[in-house]
Symmetry: C2
Subunit: 358 residues, 2 copies
Amino acid sequence: MASETLIRFGILGCAEIARKFSRAITMVPTATLYAVGSRSLEKAKAFASANNFPPNAKVYGSYEEVLEDPDVDAVYVPLPTSLHKKWAVLAAQKKKHILLEKPVGLNVAEFDAILEACESNGVQIMDGTMWVHHPRTAAMKEFISDADRFGQLKSVHTIFSFAGDDDFLKNDIRVKPDLDGLGALGDAGWYCTRGILWAANYELPKTVTALPGAVLNEAGVILSCGSSLQWADGKVATFQCSFLSHLTMDITAIGTKGTLHLNDFIIPFQAKEAHFSLASKSGFNELVTGWEPTPSKQIVMTDLPQEAQMVREFSRLVGEIKKGSKPETKWPTISRKTQLVLDAVKVSIKNGFQPVEL
Amino acid sequence: MASETLIRFGILGCAEIARKFSRAITMVPTATLYAVGSRSLEKAKAFASANNFPPNAKVYGSYEEVLEDPDVDAVYVPLPTSLHKKWAVLAAQKKKHILLEKPVGLNVAEFDAILEACESNGVQIMDGTMWVHHPRTAAMKEFISDADRFGQLKSVHTIFSFAGDDDFLKNDIRVKPDLDGLGALGDAGWYCTRGILWAANYELPKTVTALPGAVLNEAGVILSCGSSLQWADGKVATFQCSFLSHLTMDITAIGTKGTLHLNDFIIPFQAKEAHFSLASKSGFNELVTGWEPTPSKQIVMTDLPQEAQMVREFSRLVGEIKKGSKPETKWPTISRKTQLVLDAVKVSIKNGFQPVEL
């Protein structure tokens, strides 16, 4: 590890998800928990001691102090979406590399302001979508990129729902218009959209059409919605995201010659052993009473959970920048595309489920 | 078996699917292969001898002769859809009970003519959707009807696709406007729609909206399409059907407390041992790095394959009618609802993917 740079992370706020992220940092030898800041110093202290921060870690009673600390290399920003623009822009101006939770903004214009700040300050930005860093995702990509086994991608279908309880549906920041105004679309729909774009090699669809039946709360925040997407080459996709249905996280990608299935694409059922199912060139037996071949289950083991894989990759990029490389544009590019699709779904819902051209 | 009536089947035509159906009849003690008719006597003879018809079975060179045979109790009609109305109406007029392949007509008006003939002649009609007769289907229904384990149904998503080869896409009756004018919608989409209605306790949706991206051949026959459905109570559904994508047959039903998954709902991977996956009250572990509980795999064994289960149930109903009962209206009712939804999808595609109220 001697040749690698140790990346010192500062965390803005004590969100629930920051606990998982903090643990991930402790698993990555090239990253360290260096600082945490909260509007409440007491909360920051409690967070640091509950999450295995080293004894010499800095604990601040504000986000500003984290950004002012010259030894912080990178910040993790799990704040409510409505605060992303302000704090990510400030972080970039302070030359901090940024791991930004999703959705990256309330709309793509906000993210563009963040991107501009990152670009002009030469800092790396990556969003907090963990599943794309799982080695299973690479194995699935290998399958759906295989012209012989999978053929040409024809359709992708994703679902992410979980049933928020009464407290969630009343009080969670994700149902508050002034905090996470995109609701289920920004939270669960973010992953659905990313899954679709991932399968489509991040090619943007031509048209996005929200599906009739979206459910909004009294404040106008989306609690459940779906969308249909289509591409110029004939590919189509659908997704369904909801705070009102049982936990489900499916991706199904269908090519001309193969099908990929998995039911835990965002959070694997288990951290170390992940599965997916693939079928290739399946047909029926002679009397159409069974399949030949039947789908096969693939197993992918991983030493590090996906959130630590994300931290490792982000830290690697920051380390490269410290050695003179430029920021990796792939990550903000796919963040921006994901946000663009979410924006289009929102517009389509507002327009009575009419198609929106991208 | 002494108290049960042996139902004598006549088959109209020698379609591929009739081979599977003939084998099913040989597996059911209450049914017998009694006659087959084809426009070609030679074809009918070859079919009878290749499909284990008894030596005394009747072999006819026309469909009419099957209908005229007074000893035929019931007919199986696997003819192209455009011929359903003519031959099903004639069969009913000859007091033959009818097992009719799907789609039941080119539109619901055709099926209504068939229904009228069946009602006025007191004959049973059932469509050839086999999977609903599998004992697995009953086990799945038990789960999604369970208010405690599954809760209230919120969404259903079905897919049925298979990749027709060049010959299929050029010559199969399912791509010919004068034979099976509904194309992939009538063939694959029939099962998708039935799966959705089955999950929704056969309650018709309020609105049906075809998804942008439908693919039609030069003759205007649908090769691939999708649809969104919504109900007054907020339930939603989507389906995707296609002749252009790899073999996939998924149903996902999501309730407030549970999720049902299976990937072979129409033709089980294997005839005797069928699976499905259910999850109930799943959440995440403390750090959101895994699920608790994870979905569980259910296994349903069956002595008879689903097509024979269908023949057995149909024969039971015919036997009851012979003993004085009235025809069972459940089966034509669900056939008609399925056709109604298909008709609405077709109208929506023609209207530029606008919603169609049912």
